[in-house]
């Protein structure tokens, strides 16, 4: 299986653990992720300013993947939703198709509508499947309680995702967690927004939103959280101590990218999965997972 790997802006700058672990687990599953030179912003940041510009920015990336004949795999939920949405609109709306191609002319690019976009977790769930993941597990996460964090744009707007999962009661990430042998915790806050999108607009509201989810995960005595988006990771991991201080809480909940947890289940060591880049220490969790191994 070959895909174009779309990192987006945030992953290479702030989430090296995601970048490293995605490539590691892809190798284990014989998935060939190809880096495409010239990939740039997905366009989402400019959606608030000027819709047409944001469509053209998204289309640059879609065109570059089309030139390689590759479907895109995304890591960030927002990149996923935006590239998927623009791809869908350009494929179905002739007027917009022509308008965007007119803008792209100066870049010698042409949108044709020949590829699809998928988030890495959806690819693991749909294209690889939980059975194969189960078979690849070398070190079961049996006894580990994991809180799945879906984020928003992985599921919503559901109209662009062919209803591959239920936006109100999703199960795709839960299924992937279960395939590692771990327990997947069920709690209503697993679909709540992390607040990351408005961190620069209103820090108090943003951190308040994160703290609601952290409180819930803490009360469930989770061993770890599994995130699938660099913005969720930013809030639940990088900002966890700051938010704990603000609300007088000692959370100390390891927040890992799902692919880091999957990598542990596939038998890799911490350093092969970039766990040192996580802000909340993961040593105790890894020790618990390794159990008698050490």
């Amino acid at each position: 299986m070959h895909y174009a790997l779309f990192l987006g802006c945030t992953v290479p700058a702030r989430s090296l653990g995601y970048d490293i672990s995605v490539r590691k687990v892809a190798e284990d599953l014989d998935v060939n992720l190809i880096d495409v030179e010239g990939f740039s912003c997905c366009g989402f940041p400019t959606a608030s300013i000027h819709r047409e510009t944001s469509f053209a920015l998204a289309a640059i990336n879609l065109c570059l993947a089309e030139e390689k004949g590759l479907n895109i795999i995304t890591l960030c939920n927002s990149c996923t939703a935006y590239l998927t949405k623009v791809n869908m609109i350009l494929k179905n709306n002739k007027e917009m198709f022509e308008r965007i191609n007119e803008i792209l002319k100066s870049n010698d690019l042409e949108f044709r509508g020949t590829i699809d976009v998928k988030h890495i977790s959806r690819m693991l769930y749909e294209d690889i499947g939980t059975v194969r993941i189960q078979k690849t597990v070398k070190r079961s996460l049996d006894g580990i309680k994991i809180a799945p964090i879906y984020g928003c744009h992985y599921l919503k707007p559901s109209s662009i995702y062919n209803k591959f999962d239920d936006p109100e009661m999703p199960k795709s990430l839960d299924s992937l967690i279960l395939a590692t042998g771990a327990t997947s915790l069920d709690f209503p806050e697993k679909i709540l927004c992390c607040g990351g999108a408005i961190l620069a607009i209103d820090e108090n509201a943003s951190m308040g939103m994160t703290h609601i989810v952290l409180d819930s995960v803490k009360s469930l005595e989770a061993d770890a959280m599994a995130t699938i988006c660099p913005f969720c990771h930013l809030m639940y991991d990088e900002y966890q101590i700051t938010i704990g201080n603000k609300y007088g809480k000692d959370y100390n909940i390891p927040s890992l990218f799902f692919t880091q947890l999957l990598g542990l289940a596939f038998g890799h060591e911490s350093k092969e999965l970039g766990l040192k880049f996580n802000a909340v220490r993961t040593k105790a969790l890894v020790k618990k997972i390794m159990g008698g191994e050490q």
Partner: protein, 183 residues
């Protein structure tokens, strides 16, 4: 004048509940919204409040109220809607969008309102700053030699940022003029 008055309104109380008089309203505002992509279903709103009940931002900051934003837009309280920090506070989680019984497509409506606000010269500074970054790096973050050395150390391929294509699009769309506003 109206602008000045609204600035005060926003500063003193972000969602001033004082009585709105007719001369403050713009009866054409709703048509402007209907024409903007994302605003097409806006008149369907029946003010049921499912959006506010679903809103995770509202759960933290009770002053943020998307139903009220829609109501103000419907009656033509244009200055207040466009000049308010609130339209920028939507976290775009799409909870309201999924649950709205009238399919108002509220998240898209918020994008439409922000696009209109920008046209009228109201833009949040943090959003403006992002355009500068996009022009410079083609992305929101710079991947410098430092990041690339780190990437190499961990066996990751280097990233060569190429802002040229992004820059061309931004220039062709006159983004600089757009974010400076024209009103």
């Amino acid at each position: 004048m109206a602008q000045e008055k609204n600035d005060k309104k926003t500063e003193q109380n972000p969602d001033d509940m004082s009585i709105i008089t007719e001369d403050e309203l713009d009866s054409q505002f709703k048509y402007e919204i209907l024409k903007e992509p994302g605003g097409e279903n806006f008149l369907r709103c029946m003010q049921c409040g499912t959006c506010t009940a679903s809103c995770p931002v509202k759960a933290i900051d009770p002053d943020y109220n998307c139903r009220r934003i829609i109501r103000r837009a419907l009656i033509g309280d244009k200055e207040h809607v466009l000049n308010s920090k609130f339209i920028w506070m939507c976290s775009t989680c799409y909870s309201c969008y999924e649950r709205c019984p009238q399919d108002v497509k509220i998240t898209e409506l918020m994008f439409a309102l922000k696009n209109i606000a920008v046209k009228h010269g109201f833009i949040h500074p943090s959003i403006k700053a992002q355009v500068t970054l996009l022009e410079k790096f083609g992305a929101l973050s710079e991947i410098s030699e430092f990041e690339n050395r780190m990437r190499e150390k961990y066996g990751l391929p280097k990233i060569k940022q190429s802002p040229d294509r992004v820059k061309k699009v931004l220039e062709k769309e006159n983004i600089k003029e757009i974010i400076e506003g024209d009103s």
